[in-house]
Symmetry: none
Subunit: 204 residues, 4 copies
DNA sequence: TATGAATGAGATTTCATTCAT
DNA sequence: AATGAATGAAATCTCATTCAT
């Protein structure tokens, strides 16, 4: 019967995740109060403190959670492609996946972009996905090996590309500055390819 | 004698800028209260509201102010160079100027990076600097013309490079993630050059 | 044991009622601050907002509360009379009860008169007093029936008389304008009787 | 040339009257700030204090001013009637004049009713009207004499009637409580006539 | 006389956190 | 483990009044 209690706890935690996620997206982190979060989760105020130290603790754990899911989705998306695309195509496909995802829900973009650091990020990418085969980061590395791509600094390459994509999304999608994402996308693709070459060309 | 009043007002506004700048850098935006700001500026609480609507209004105006100054500095810095460098060298020089500036004062980096949007940015770059020669953006455009560089999307190019630099500074300088800036810099330079080519090569 | 919490809440609310009542009477509504109210009630500032939306909300609820009590007193007072007085005598008795009550505590008069509307009033009169005998208004109606008084508009009659009494009290007791209540009382009685006849004569 | 200065001062004072009148009616006394008043009057804040001690001083003077004008209007209105009406008809005519006036502008009613005392009132009625024949109160007395009406307490009679009318207007016009003014008016008329008789009958 | 920038006490309100139940 | 009433420090913002110009 102890299992039931354990399940119950996980349910409560998830309720708090879901509730705070909605509120952070809709009203922003600093305008969301703990009272709001527990109310929406249907729990009492005191209960919050049984699961999280404070609002910041919740936020950090939430971001890791969300980011992990997002890359998991990206990963699944790539798998759905019929053939084995080459590496460059794979990267651009994932880039476009993120763009579409963020255009669908710009609030998600705002929340993640304002709060993400490479540390949390890198962590989320390598996290063991329950009942799944391979986490994103390992997959990324294996792909390069498989395709005989020589890259001495694969992490720096990934970092550079991801930063480029997320900066661009933030500015072009949320503010349409300096141009809309539709207009910027061809240039973004070119820039990404150029960066790929920077990191792989020399080693070929 | 009306001038004296006007001067006085400018002094007060600047006092609030300086005071809030220090506090935002040292304790962060949300932990800085208006009481702190006016106290340090040596003014009364009500005075704050004669100059700014609220803390957010102050922040936005402060960021535009600071960013403008920063690019002004970058501009001056480039002028100080002995010879006429080529365009690529100019860009890398400015990149390194920002890196140095932010390594000197990471708090400045943190404050700006979390709050800057390309909109404010672009504005700050083109703002008429009183009693000054040329704002940064105009200078940038003129340089390209002078050096016979063909670039159909100079603004997108600038945007891409600046986003790349600021993302990299944020992550490498503030968190040393994924690596230190010292380690990342050569790759950053290469990426910047690659992007320059994306935007100029085709038109040559 | 949940009852204890519930009781405690009622006590707190009453403490706020009592404390604000004293302060409103002694210093007036607008000069009384919430800080004053909670201090006197021995509670924390935040506690106030658990019970009332703001000072205005408290005032309205307090007035209804007080008015209800006042009519309850009047009701009790009438019952204490030895014999069954006729209707006219009853009305004058109640009139004099109010006059005495307000001369005893003119601050009460000032507070109520400035803030009472017939809406709140009417509400307070008929409010179901839990575990109490009969609210004033119902008693008033029953009395008329009992005494075979025909009155097609009993509410308008009551309204007219009460307004006359409260206006007179306000002016004569608080400001002795145009004359003292002692001097005005006989005329007030005559006016009340005249009004009673207006509403009942035609139907005889 | 001194006259010009004097005129200027009167103009400013009137500007403050007009501005505060509008604001008190529209937003209520306590929600109107001195800043609002001077802004609308097109004057500087300091100027306010050259004419009034504070907001309360302004309010009291304004009320007297308004009330005087109102009775002046009522007076004019009565004069416009073709024939010499008898006294009772005159009183009901004036009653209806006030009702119409207040139904036209209920905000005026609210402002006056909340702030008027018989003292200010009586004063306003007797004030020497510039360039006019007789102030209201004197006219009222003369009328009774003229019509051979014996009334030992004319002021108490006037007081009682006016209180009755203003209470009724306040409740029936502003809140339609207990009924609309349209519905209440016949009863109000009857009550007024009954009161007239109380004060005059005995002396006939 | 007129101005309006400056004041700063003080009002309202919020909210993370605690703790008795 | 769960609750939610209570806390009270602290934050924002208002506004009557003053006073140097």
């Amino acid at each position: 019967m102890k299992k039931k209690v354990e399940e119950n706890k996980i349910q409560k935690k998830n309720a708090l995740f879901r509730s705070s996620f909605d509120l952070f997206l809709n009203h922003g982190f600093s305008k969301t109060t703990i009272a709001d979060i527990v109310k929406r989760a249907g729990l009492a105020k005191g209960t919050f403190y049984l699961y999280f130290k404070d609002k910041y603790d919740l936020r950090d754990k939430l971001i890791a959670h969300i980011t992990g899911e997002l890359f998991e989705e990206a990963h699944q998306h790539l798998h759905r492609e019929p053939d084995h695309p080459d590496f460059e195509t794979s990267v651009l496909t994932i880039c476009d996946f993120f763009i579409d995802r963020f255009e669908d829900d710009p609030r998600l973009l705002r929340f993640i972009a304002k709060n993400l650091s490479w540390g949390i990020f890198r962590n989320a990418l390598s996290k063991d996905v329950p009942d799944e085969d391979i986490p994103f980061y390992r997959h990324y590395m294996e792909q390069m090996e498989l395709l005989h791509i020589r890259c001495l600094q694969p992490e720096l390459m990934l970092f550079t590309i991801i930063e480029l994509i997320s900066s661009a999304c933030y500015s072009c999608i949320l503010y349409r500055q300096p141009v809309s994402m539709e207009e910027y996308k061809p240039y973004l693709h070119q820039s990404i390819l150029a960066i790929l070459h920077v990191y792989t060309e020399a080693e070929k």
